[in-house]
């Protein structure tokens, strides 16, 4: 593999840091979409104000500084994609986030999660593009050995996204979620460095 391929630039999107003021406004709007929050995972679903979101950003950045066991990127549309998309969603270039956390350096492991906040922007390949960059970052830059992903059973799009990227289903935690009056499994996936290299 070439050593000088851009790490943070994909075909449709690029990975960038948080821009607290602008992003918080948009992300606050996304938290008012309970469907989005339920897709993300197990956290309590609740609307958050921009001020609350900014506090979360501060906490994330504090944790990154103090513990050094995670990376957080915003997913942003590349300019040429921005121009091609006629229907602006008012969000500017922000599409979502991708996060690599629970890194245990001694074991060489970490965990990936991502979200495309604007529902009309899902299914357009932005998540796949971001995940491809993150995998290269995790294996090619951080030299991790394996990655995990945790997906609620009802998020079939996420399951397909991870499987397409090479992840294998490793465990099902039966009825670990209680959402909308039903019990759902949590699906745990894993990807080893050697599996990623063979692709």
């Amino acid at each position: 593999m070439e050593w000088n391929i851009p790490l943070f630039e994909g075909q449709l999107i690029y990975l960038a840091s948080i821009k607290p003021d602008k992003d918080a406004e948009i992300e606050s709007r996304w938290t008012h979409d309970a469907g989005y929050q339920r897709l993300l995972g197990t956290d309590l679903v609740r609307p958050l104000s921009p001020a609350q979101i900014r506090k979360i950003y501060t906490e994330i950045e504090k944790e990154i500084d103090e513990k050094g066991n995670q990376f957080y990127f915003t997913i942003r549309r590349l300019p040429h994609v921005m121009n091609a998309e006629s229907s602006g969603n008012g969000a500017g270039d922000l599409l979502g986030f991708i996060r690599l956390d629970r890194i245990e350096w001694s074991q060489g492991v970490g965990s990936v999660s991502l979200g495309i906040g604007e529902s009309i922007e899902r299914g357009k390949g932005y998540g796949s593009d971001a995940l491809r960059l993150l995998l290269r970052y995790a294996f090619g830059e951080l030299n991790l050995f394996r990655l995990a992903a945790v997906v609620p059973e009802y998020n079939q799009a996420a399951l397909r996204l991870f499987e397409k990227a090479g992840f294998k289903v490793e465990a099902r935690q039966r009825e670990a979620l209680h959402r909308a009056g039903s019990r759902w499994d949590i699906i745990r996936l894993g990807l080893l460095r050697e599996e990623w290299e063979m692709r």
Binding site: T42, S106, Q107, E170, A171, Q173, G190
Partner: protein
């Protein structure tokens, strides 16, 4: 008005069940000074450390451990965690630790952890007894729906104990651990309330 069909259920006697006591052990709240002394000694035993969790083994002073107990169990009494010590009924000897963390109240799920620091009590049913107490507490008092745990591939004694109380293997994170240059799986197990009730 008395309902004649109502079962003659005694609510007083179940209320008096010694919830924190089993056949061999009882669970007690850790007093920081005592707990820190034991913890410091147990952490010198690298087998204990490598069976307990994925963190790298390291040595901390009694004072540092005491600080941890004071901060985490006294100053910040978290609603999503429970940390107890295991004490023998016969000799009042404190032999290990047990607890819940990541309690997700809305989903009724929590992670269980247990470790026996005093080697001579391993493999004699003390851990299994402590786990039974914790399961009863989790299901009958906390009204949880399921419990999760993770255990390392090289710890068959623990796996047998968990199976004895009703946990089922739900999958494994392949090659999660790196110990002395060799990789091992981390196995996930779970038990549902209904499985526990049927026993």
């Amino acid at each position: 008005m008395v309902n004649p069909n109502r079962s003659n259920k005694q609510w007083e006697s179940p209320m008096n069940v010694p919830l924190f006591q089993g056949e061999l052990v009882r669970l007690i709240a850790p007093e920081p000074q005592l707990a820190a002394g034991l913890h410091t000694r147990w952490m010198r035993d690298s087998e204990f450390v490598r069976l307990l969790d994925t963190d790298p083994a390291r040595l901390l002073s009694v004072d540092k451990n005491k600080e941890w107990y004071e901060k985490n169990l006294v100053e910040e009494q978290k609603n999503d965690e429970l940390f107890l010590l295991i004490q023998t009924l016969e000799e009042d000897r404190t032999i290990g630790l047990i607890g819940l963390d990541g309690i997700r109240w809305t989903h009724g799920d929590a992670w269980v952890g247990i470790g026996l620091g005093e080697r001579e009590y391993l493999g004699k049913g003390f851990g299994t007894d402590a786990m039974r107490i914790l399961l009863r507490y989790a299901f009958e008092e906390l009204n949880l729906h399921r419990l999760s745990l993770s255990v390392f591939e090289y710890n068959p004694r623990a796996i047998r104990s968990y199976e004895k109380v009703g946990f089922i293997v739900e999958g494994s994170a392949r090659q999660f651990l790196n110990r002395d240059g060799q990789r091992y799986d981390m196995i996930f197990m779970g038990i549902l309330r209904e499985e526990w009730e049927k026993r």
